[in-house]
C-alpha cells in the first residue's frame, strides 16, 4: 500500500505560486511525508528551485476562474483521484503550512474519504462562519484524505458531474460566491452521493489566517503575522494562509 501527498501548483500572472510551493514542500517533507507528487505545468516547473526527491505530473490548468478579479487556477482538484499515484492520498493546498505532524497520522486510518468542515480564525474574529452564504454547510477542501476504491471514485465522479453543471448546482444551493470554489464543489458532491445524511469528517478545525492579515515572517516552526497594529505568532501549529502575498515574504 502506497501513501503520499498530492499538491497542485500553477503560477498566475499575479502570483508566483511556485514560491509558496517551495515552502510548503519543505514543511510537508519534514512533518508529514517524504512521498510527494506535484501537479503543475511546465512554465511553473521551470521557475521552481530544486526541492529534492519529488514526483511531478504535468498538465495545463483549466483557466477562466477568477477571485477578486484575478486569475485563480484552482479548478483541477476534481482530478486528484486520477492524478494521484498513491493508494492513500493526502491532498493539501500549497498555502496550508504543516508546522506540526498532525496530518501524518491520517495515513494510518481506515477511512475512505475525510475532509474538514470547520476553520479556526487565528485573528479571533470568527470570519469563517460561512453558513449563511449558502444552503449547504461548506467543507474545507484545503485538506483531503482519500483512498483509491470504488466508493471514492464515485465521490470524484460526482464532483466532476457537479463541476460540469456548476451554475445549476450553485443556484440550487443558493451559494452566494459566484466563482467556482472547491469547498462547495466537494460539499455538494458529498451531500448528494451520501444520500443527504452526512459524511465522515476530520475532527479538527483548520487554523486559518484571513486574507487581510499580512504575513511578516515564516520560520521552520511557525509564522508571524500582522493584523492592523497587532503582531501575533504561532508555532508548531498548522496554518492555512489566505493572503497570497505570502509568495513574496
Amino acid at each position: 500500500m502506497t501513501a503520499g501527498v498530492l499538491l497542485f501548483c500553477f503560477d498566475t500572472e499575479h502570483t508566483p505560486y511556485h514560491k509558496i510551493l517551495e515552502r510548503c514542500v519543505r514543511l510537508v517533507k519534514k512533518n508529514v511525508s517524504g512521498e510527494i507528487t506535484v501537479v503543475t505545468n511546465f512554465s511553473t516547473y521551470q521557475k521552481m528551485s530544486p526541492m529534492g526527491s519529488i514526483n511531478y505530473k504535468f498538465m495545463e490548468p483549466e483557466i477562466g476562474n477568477k477571485k477578486n478579479g484575478q486569475e485563480w487556477n484552482n479548478v483541477d482538484r476534481h482530478m486528484a483521484y486520477d492524478l494521484s499515484p498513491y493508494d492513500t492520498t493526502l491532498v493539501i493546498d500549497i498555502d496550508y503550512f504543516c508546522f506540526s505532524d498532525n496530518l501524518k497520522q491520517l495515513f494510518g486510518t481506515d477511512y475512505d474519504f475525510l475532509v474538514p468542515d470547520t476553520a479556526h480564525d487565528l485573528t479571533g474574529r470568527n470570519t469563517f462562519d460561512l453558513r449563511k452564504w449558502s444552503m449547504i454547510p461548506m467543507v474545507w477542501a484545503t485538506v483531503l484524505l482519500f483512498k483509491k476504491n470504488q466508493k471514492v471514485k464515485r465521490i470524484f465522479d460526482t464532483v466532476k458531474y457537479i463541476k460540469r453543471h456548476y451554475p445549476y448546482f450553485r443556484d440550487m444551493y443558493r451559494i452566494y460566491d459566484r466563482s467556482l470554489r472547491n469547498d462547495y464543489l466537494f460539499a455538494m458532491a458529498l451531500q448528494q452521493i451520501n444520500g443527504f445524511v452526512g459524511y465522515e469528517k476530520m475532527p479538527f478545525a483548520l487554523p486559518t489566517l484571513p486574507p487581510d492579515c499580512e504575513v511578516v515572517e515564516i520560520m521552520d516552526e511557525g509564522i508571524t503575522w500582522k493584523y492592523k497594529d497587532q503582531i501575533s505568532y504561532t508555532e508548531n501549529q498548522d496554518v492555512h494562509v489566505l493572503n497570497k502575498d505570502i509568495a513574496n515574504v
Binding site: G108, T109, G124, P207, S232, Q237
Partner: protein, 105 residues
Amino acid sequence: MDINELKRQSDLSYDIAVAKRNALEKAHSRQVLAYEGHLFRADPGTICLVRALKEYNDTFYVLDTNNNPVEITDTDGFLSVLIERNQESLNTYNNIYKTFTKKGQ
C-alpha cells in the same frame, strides 16, 4: 487611569485572549490521535470512558470521532496512548499559558 493606559490595557487583554484561544485550539487539534485505523480525541471524556470500561471488561467497544464502533483489545495500551497525548497537548498549552501570565503583569 488615563485613556491611553486604558486603551493599552484593553489591547493587551484582547491580544492575550486571542493567543489563548489559538493555543487552546492547537491543544484540541493535537488531542486527535489515530488508533487501530480510527481517529479518537484524547479528551477527558474519552479517557474517563476508557478507564471505566476497562474495569469491567478485558475488551470493549467505543465510538471514534465519526461514530464508528471500534473494538479495543489492548485496553491498557489504548488508555496509555490517550493519557500521553492528552498530557502532551496540555503541557504545551501550559507553557504557552505561562507567557500570557507574564504579559499580563
